[in-house]
């Protein structure tokens, strides 16, 4: 009885923290429709800020609390709403969610930068450390009491704010109907800002309370807050009382499990599977169940629709792209040092995992936050299957994981949008905590995945593995293209564009989603199975999946090129951090920063780069010139006329500065052509003519110089060559409003209306 009381108190105080966190999530979701995955990271960052003010600068606790919770947190929340979230009105759910992932990555990077792990960190003390009072014979620490008290106060304040103040009434009006509120003179934007401010403070409060209870560490703080998702879902993302109830139940469940698992009769394992990870996975299990028992959301008509550039990829382009990718890798792989080869190899592994999101997220519009979980399962299957890494075991590993993926995804398939994304998150956490924890999977913390054995070829060097990875990526890319061009591909896109129309035409949405999940799981499994090295469970953790999802969307999740770009960007980020130590800290916030700009460019970066090269690809003559130049530079290196570093600088300048300008150069007037041409020639001469391996001593300086050369000569030549006035390409609806109609506007408008074609 005594024990029960003790654990009830522990449970309620844990639940109190969940309640504070979850109510913040609900407040922002209801007012702006954005589920803030970065909510936990906000709490983490404020816990660190509080620590900085309170323990490092030694200010009194009330001052530190006031500054953190009532000044910095609201400011941060308001800034987030104003500069990041507001731009996301009317974008797809995938983009909205990715931006919060970006924010998440940004804040973790920032915390890593400002408070590096190795810095001597004074202890984070609980409030009134050491003081406790006796409740029914059990000593309850003041910290626990305060935690519990905070939740009660938050509940009361939220109740008053929402029901008794003008702002609260406005908030509830926005929840009911945003457009109607605006028509009636309400200011939804201000309401959202207010909501984000409150939400950040709530996250901050929870973060500080948690840090006192646990430790001041980045990952546990972020993850513990993820547990609160379950409470928010129990509250159906809108009811605060239900959310508080859910949070309480979650806390009690955790405490009681802790109590009974200590008993002698409680089994350590079931059928040889250890139960050690179950406690950590409990909240996500509740999340999973809460999502599944959610009443089925009805198919809706008239949801937000955006046309995304999703042209059917042509076979010719796809095959040419695949061949040139492998050719480039074969060409340059001989020049790379061993460590750079391994880093690039790593980039290709990321790219394959990113590719697994193309059919699922890019084509079918279903968000998964668990791509690496499937890669991890693939790695395990490959290492456990007999055959020591031959092609048959690879095929078997892919098939097994695809089937497992489909079976596990089956219950979640009736979900969509944010709920599906959260279900995949719950799945990822459950697998990391329970499956990857078993003696049968990652017995000693890491396992060795055998290198793929292909008949007649020995793949033993890192270089051979890199080439193998590029071949595998190309093949998988071609498979993805084949899927898009098939009957299934059209169904996937139809599912994304209008689930309701697809259903009324006779398509089983569940079966289509199932196919998308199976394909995606299979591709991810292939990436894992090709690891060919020692791997650890941490590599496949949920938190590692988030940057992958983010960079997939940044690169452009609806194309194979976008996946390659995103994957290499993620790999390149770590390359940059290793070779240029001065920008190491910047690379920590890099992925987050590029992701935050997604609101402006939802198509992804690959599409934008593609646009820059479009004039080039339309003229075979120019492609030939561009290719000849690249081969020429490579030949100079192969014949050892120039050094590897000069080859690197010259290739980058040729590809990024010269090639995109070729079309403009050809069409420019003779004088401009001469000036721009000479300018580019000087650039190439500097890049290739100087031996950079001796001229500059550090790798970082060489890379910065390369970027400088590209900017100076590329942009310079573009300015000179493009004498034609910029064609004003606005939306046809706006033509004539901000500038007079031009000939082009009229043609464009006629085309759009369908008058002429």
């Amino acid at each position: 009885m005594q024990q029960l009381l003790t654990f009830t108190i522990i449970g309620l105080s844990t639940g109190a923290i969940y309640a504070v966190v979850a109510s913040g999530l609900v407040v922002t979701y209801t007012t702006s429709g954005i589920f803030n995955l970065a909510h936990g990271a906000t709490g983490m960052l404020s816990a660190f800020t509080y620590w900085q003010i309170r323990f490092d600068w030694d200010l009194p606790a009330p001052v530190a609390l006031f500054i953190t919770l009532f000044v910095l947190c609201p400011l941060f929340g308001i800034a987030t709403e104003r500069f990041v979230m507001r731009g996301l009105q009317g974008t797809t759910e995938v983009v909205r969610l990715s931006v919060t992932v970006a924010l998440f990555a940004f804040m973790i990077g920032l915390a890593n930068w400002i408070w590096p792990n190795d810095a001597s960190r004074e202890a984070f003390l609980k409030f009134f450390e050491g003081n406790s009072i006796s409740v029914g014979g059990f000593n309850v620490s003041w910290h626990r009491l305060i935690t519990f008290g905070c939740a009660v106060v938050v509940a009361i304040i939220l109740r008053i704010v929402l029901y008794k103040t003008r702002m609260g009434v406005a908030m509830r009006a926005v929840v009911d109907d945003r457009n109607l509120t605006e028509l009636n003179g309400g200011r939804p934007d201000r309401v959202s800002m207010f909501a984000w401010g409150i939400s950040a403070s709530l996250a901050g409060l929870a973060g500080i309370l948690l840090a006192g209870d646990q430790q001041l560490n980045i990952e546990p703080l972020v993850l513990l807050v993820i547990n609160a998702y379950a409470a928010a879902i129990i509250g159906r993302l809108k009811s605060l009382p239900l959310t508080f109830l859910g949070a309480g139940l979650l806390g009690l469940l955790d405490a009681y499990y802790l109590m009974v698992s200590d008993e002698d009769w409680f089994p350590q394992s079931v059928f040889g599977f250890s139960l050690s990870g179950v406690r950590a996975a409990l909240p996500t299990m509740v999340l999973f169940i809460a999502l599944l028992v959610r009443p089925q959301s009805r198919l809706r008509v008239g949801t937000t629709k955006l046309r995304e550039a999703n042209d059917v990829p042509e076979w010719r382009t796809a095959i040419l792209g695949a061949i040139s990718l492998v050719a480039v890798i074969v060409g340059i792989s001989g020049m790379l040092t061993r460590s750079n080869t391994l880093l690039l190899l790593n980039g290709f592994t990321f790219a394959m995992v990113t590719l697994s999101l193309v059919p699922l997220t890019g084509y079918a519009g279903q968000m998964s936050l668990a791509p690496l979980t499937f890669a991890g399962l693939g790695a395990i299957a490959m290492s456990k299957l007999p055959g020591n890494g031959n092609l048959i075991s690879l095929a078997a590993a892919i098939a097994i994981v695809a089937i497992v993926g489909a079976i596990v995804a089956l219950p979640a398939l009736r979900l969509s949008g944010i709920y599906l994304a959260l279900a995949t998150a719950a799945f990822a956490v459950m697998v990391s905590k329970i499956v990857f924890n078993q003696r049968q999977t990652f017995q000693t913390g890491n396992i060795t995945v055998p290198v793929l054995r292909v008949p007649f070829i020995t793949i033993d060097s890192p270089r051979a593995r890199l080439i193998l990875a590029s071949v595998c990526f190309s093949l998988l890319g071609l498979i993805v293209v084949a899927v898009r061009r098939s009957r299934l591909g059209r169904r996937l896109v139809a599912l994304k564009d209008s689930p309701v129309a697809a259903a009324t035409l006779g398509m089983s949405l569940t079966r289509t989603k199932l196919a998308a999940f199976a394909i995606s799981a299979g591709i991810a499994a292939c990436a894992g199975a090709l690891a060919g090295d020692k791997v650890s469970p941490q590599q496949y953790d949920f938190t590692q999946s988030l940057p992958i999802v983010l960079l997939a969307v940044v690169g452009g999740v609806s194309s194979v090129a976008g996946a390659l770009f995103g994957g290499l960007l993620l790999g390149g980020n770590s390359v940059l951090a290793t070779i240029v130590p001065t920008v190491k800290n910047l690379t920590k916030i890099g992925p987050g920063t590029v992701g935050i700009t997604l609101g402006r460019n939802p198509q992804g970066a690959a599409a934008q780069i593609g646009d820059a090269f479009r004039p080039l690809t339309e003229q075979p003559r120019l492609i030939a010139i561009a290719a000849a130049g690249s081969i020429g530079v490579w030949a100079l290196d192969a014949t050892e006329i120039i050094s590897h570093w000069s080859f690197f600088v010259a290739s980058v300048v040729w590809i990024l500065a010269v090639s995109p300008n070729l079309a403009a150069l050809m069409s420019a007037g003779s004088r401009r052509r001469l000036v721009a041409g000479v300018w580019l020639a000087i650039g190439m001469a500097i890049a290739a003519g100087i031996d950079w391996s001796t001229a500059l001593d550090a790798t970082g300086k060489r890379i910065i110089l390369t970027i400088g050369l590209v900017a100076l000569f590329g942009v310079g030549a573009q300015r000179v060559a493009e004498n034609a006035p910029r064609v004003h390409v606005a939306s046809p609806d706006l033509a004539g409003l901000d500038a007079n109609f031009s000939r082009e506007d009229i043609e464009l408008a006629e085309q759009k209306i369908g008058v002429v074609l």
Partner: protein, 235 residues
């Protein structure tokens, strides 16, 4: 036996009775009109028939089979197809692929020639390779009709197909509907263009505030006192 039978269908949203116990039949080979002022419950009734809204009470039969609890995609297999008042084209697919997806859900034979024939029939051949999301409303409505026809339905539900169409397109739509009826299809038409409704319908049901207030031929409806009152208010 009528192709579509609606028996006592009632839909209640909280305290609002959107549809209050409606009985309605639609015959094969006929165009059946469903008209009524805004908010009469026409679209709600459509949603009940196509499975996007579960009725509070009542049953829906197609060809004598009770489909009230079937999932939308199963109803499609029973020969039900619909278009939407608020457009639901697959906006990132081309016009051709919009129709193709639907055709492929029905058959695996002669897909291309069937698609081409359908595009020809609704007059969209010249826009076949255009992304459907870029089309003006009128053409997009035709895409929805072609797509619905691609599933080879027995009963076609059209929700305001003429809104956004110009006069000649409306004329053409009217002819198409008559042709479809001649081919033996049942068509249930919700439409505000009274000229079109009176021209093409064999039978008309008038819905007001969730209840049928009149039924009959176009001629009878035009002279019905209750209908005039519903549309023009008490005089």
């Amino acid at each position: 036996m009528p192709l579509l039978e609606i028996r006592g269908v009632m839909v209640r949203f909280g305290g609002v009775m959107a549809v209050g116990g409606v009985d309605l039949d639609a015959e094969a080979g006929q165009v059946t009109g469903l008209i009524g002022p805004n908010g009469a419950g026409k679209t709600t009734l459509f949603n009940v028939i196509s499975g996007m809204q579960e009725p509070t009470a009542g049953q829906v039969f197609v060809g004598g089979v009770d489909i009230t609890r079937q999932a939308p995609h199963r109803r499609a297999k029973r020969g039900l197809a619909r278009t939407f008042q608020r457009l639901e084209v697959f906006s990132s697919l081309t016009v051709r692929d919009n129709v193709r997806v639907a055709t492929e859900l029905t058959t695996i034979l002669d897909v291309s020639s069937r698609v081409d024939a359908l595009l020809e029939r609704v007059g969209l051949s010249h826009l076949a390779d255009f992304p459907a999301g870029d089309l003006p409303t009128g053409s997009a409505r035709l895409v929805e009709i072609a797509r619905a026809l691609a599933t080879e339905p027995r009963l076609l539900l059209l929700d305001e197909p003429a809104s956004g169409l110009d006069d000649s397109e409306t004329e053409r739509l009217g002819r198409l509907l008559r042709e479809l009826a001649t081919d033996g299809l049942g068509v249930l038409l919700v439409e505000h263009d009274m000229g079109l409704v009176m021209r093409v319908c064999d039978h008309i049901h008038v819905l007001d505030l969730g209840n049928i207030i009149a039924r009959g031929t176009p001629n009878e409806i035009q002279n019905d006192g209750a209908v005039l009152q519903a549309y023009l208010g008490t005089t």
